[in-house]
């Protein structure tokens, strides 16, 4: 697993202001974990994401969103917990 600096957890739809605030604060060394409505960003053709991108599997499955061909790691809750312990800081947007 790649080591990440700040882990940004986003559970908002892509056009929510918090999603924009997150993208203003993220660097290539950071992780972007999409959960809940956040995974809709992977179906949004207008979304431009940054950092190492992770998406929570149950939220993808529930919404029938596939990540084939995208640079995204699909993770479970065990990996989500691991990411939160490894990152220097965690921000829940």
């Amino acid at each position: 697993m790649t080591t990440i600096h700040t882990l940004h957890i986003v559970n908002k739809r892509p056009d929510h202001p918090a999603f924009g605030a997150c993208l203003s604060s993220i660097t290539d060394q950071d992780g972007l974990l999409l959960t809940e409505s956040g995974v809709l960003a992977l179906a949004d053709r207008e979304a431009v994401l940054k950092g190492t991108i992770y998406a929570l599997a149950p939220d993808l499955q529930a919404r029938a969103i596939t990540v084939d061909g995208l640079d995204v790691q699909t993770i479970d809750f065990d990996t989500m917990v691991a990411l939160t312990t490894e990152a220097t800081r965690v921000i829940c947007w």
Binding site: P17, A21, T27, R89
Partner: protein
């Protein structure tokens, strides 16, 4: 290890901003370092001369101006949001540092809270 409390919700339409302020003041009351950052529509909390009693709510202007006395390290506002909502030196309450929400800013804080 300082905490950054981000206020990104507009005033009066819900209690999120108020409850974020309560968090910041609680940290300060327990001598934990804390800075407040207003972003997005949250910068509208900073406009001078709000008459919250018109909607039967309490103004937070007094609380905010007393923030340094209560031990809040700094009040900051995102410059893009200030520009968007027409906030400037003339119409913004005093004591607010205009800055940019960025990775560099976040880097200064061990803990970041954004109620949303």
């Amino acid at each position: 290890m300082e905490t950054l409390v981000i206020i990104s919700h507009a005033p009066y339409c819900d209690w999120t901003g108020r409850e974020s302020l309560d968090m910041a003041f609680s940290l300060a009351a327990f001598d934990q370092p804390v800075t407040l950052l207003f972003t997005g529509e949250g910068v509208n909390w900073l406009r001078k001369a709000q008459q919250a009693d018109a909607v039967q709510q309490k103004s937070v202007e007094k609380n905010l101006s007393a923030a340094p006395i209560f031990g809040v390290s700094a009040l900051m506002a995102d410059h893009k949001a200030c520009e968007r909502y027409g906030l400037n030196k003339e119409n913004m309450m005093p004591g607010v540092t205009v800055t940019a929400l960025s990775a560099d800013l976040i880097e200064r804080y061990a803990h970041v809270v954004n109620l949303s």
